[in-house]
């Protein structure tokens, strides 16, 4: 694990810097000092009105992709060698998912930390802020990242690295334009309450499970003709 994270550390530091710049920009764009709105905005959970806000979401997904890509490609290109050592392809998929889960969790935690850090620096008041809501946003952001990462693995199995990059960019652009209208079916953490929030979580988890099964099948079938 230590070896794998050697390269990730550098990427995480770069991601932290970019995330901080993005959060500062979101603060200025929204003209408000509310850490909750900023965090939601980062994950595309608020209505993205301007092109800059939409670009913020695109940049977020690009960052996520760049963090994941090395390890996914290593597992895909080395499936034979890893399968033999793990004794099955299923174990390689599980191993890949474990690492992606860890990377994505680190990534959303970093975004949360930088949001809190920037709001602290900009003298935002933390009085009245619901920390449970911050955790809710981060966890739903984590769910969003996992869905996108799953799609990234799937696209990398069926097509090239460049195509995967562009397919996910197109998907993000579509999401940034339409997500506000599709309400509980959005994979982005929209501000929902009660039954709507519950239904949205169900939709996201169902999508994640569905994509995981589909991706796992594609991975196992990949070399076995």
């Amino acid at each position: 694990m230590k070896i794998v994270t050697k390269n990730i550390k550098v990427k995480m530091i770069l991601a932290l810097i970019v995330l901080t710049i993005m959060i500062i920009s979101l603060y200025k764009l929204n003209h408000q000092h509310n850490v909750l709105t900023v965090l939601r905005g980062l994950y595309g959970g608020v209505q993205l009105r301007t092109i800059s806000e939409k670009m913020g979401l695109v940049l977020f997904i690009v960052l996520l992709q760049s963090l994941n890509v090395d390890f996914i490609l290593y597992c895909l290109n080395n499936t034979d060698y890893l399968s033999i050592r793990f004794d099955s392809k299923e174990s390689v998929v599980r191993y890949l998912y474990k690492k992606i889960l860890y990377l994505n969790f680190m990534f959303v935690c970093l975004s949360g930390i930088s949001a809190l850090f920037v709001s602290y620096l900009s003298n935002s008041s933390f009085v009245g802020i619901d920390f449970i809501e911050i955790i809710e946003i981060i966890l739903r952001g984590f769910l969003t990242c996992l869905i996108i990462s799953n799609l990234q693995i799937y696209f990398l199995i069926i097509t090239t690295e460049a195509n995967t990059f562009f397919l996910l960019i197109i998907l993000t652009i579509v999401l940034s334009f339409s997500s506000h209208n599709i309400y509980i079916f959005s994979i982005l953490p929209k501000p929902l309450r009660g039954i709507d929030l519950f239904l949205n979580l169900l939709v996201c988890i169902a999508l994640l499970v569905l994509f995981s099964i589909y991706t796992k099948t594609a991975f196992i079938k990949k070399e076995l003709y």
Binding site: I3, D80, S83, I84, R85
Partner: protein, 209 residues
């Protein structure tokens, strides 16, 4: 150990890449496969290694059928096509990473193998700066470092310098004497003639001799 390939046929997109292959392999021997590019050598190695499923036929390892009783032959090392390494890690770190999956080989042994093939285990040079020959050496080391009892080596001598070719030949002879089962392919007829106890020629997916 004993590997039996029985009536193995593989059809991919209406093209027959392996046709009714029947072969037996036993421990303590080195087997060579020769044939032109695209003749089916690598595909046959992949079939023996359990990396492709047969359209018909079977591969049996010590009485256990591949893809039914077991997924892969046990305790096997392969070098089939080039393995991918993590470019930002050193050669030693890459081997360590692979070794940690099974956790049956000591770091000292990895270092010893690297030194045998003229690689410096303490070098900080990342794999992305390695030459083709150096990457080939890493590929060979990952195939043999865990004392595997079955070795399947596809064009293992490619891109190696003279001293590494000699090292590999000596090692393979030693492994044969220790009772390991070795199957290798090479474009160089000398490698096959010098090293192998049995040589099979493959053409258009069929064993000719």
């Amino acid at each position: 150990m004993n590997i039996e390939v029985r009536n193995f046929t593989k059809i991919i997109r209406k093209g027959t890449v392996l046709e009714d292959i029947n072969l037996d392999f036993e421990s303590g021997y080195i087997y060579g496969l020769t044939g032109q590019n695209g003749s089916g050598k690598t595909m046959l190695l992949r079939a023996i290694a359990g990396l492709i499923r047969p359209t018909s036929g079977e591969v049996i390892v010590d009485g256990l059928m591949l893809h039914k009783d077991i997924s892969f032959p046990p305790n096997m090392g392969i070098l089939i096509e080039k393995p991918t390494f993590m470019n930002y890690l050193t050669g030693y770190e890459n081997l360590k990473f692979l070794a940690e999956i099974r956790n049956i080989v000591s770091y000292e042994k990895i270092e010893k193998y690297m030194q045998m093939f003229g690689l410096d285990p303490h070098s900080k040079k990342p794999v992305k700066k390695y030459s083709l020959g150096m990457k080939q050496k890493l590929g060979i080391i990952q195939a043999i470092m865990e004392d595997q009892q079955i070795l399947i080596l596809d064009e293992a001598f490619n891109a190696l310098d003279e001293s590494s070719v000699s090292t590999l030949r000596k090692l393979l002879q030693q492994y044969k004497n220790e009772g390991k089962l070795i199957i290798l392919t090479s474009h160089n007829k000398e490698d096959i003639e010098v090293m192998c106890d049995y040589n099979y020629h493959i053409s258009n997916g069929k064993i000719l001799s």
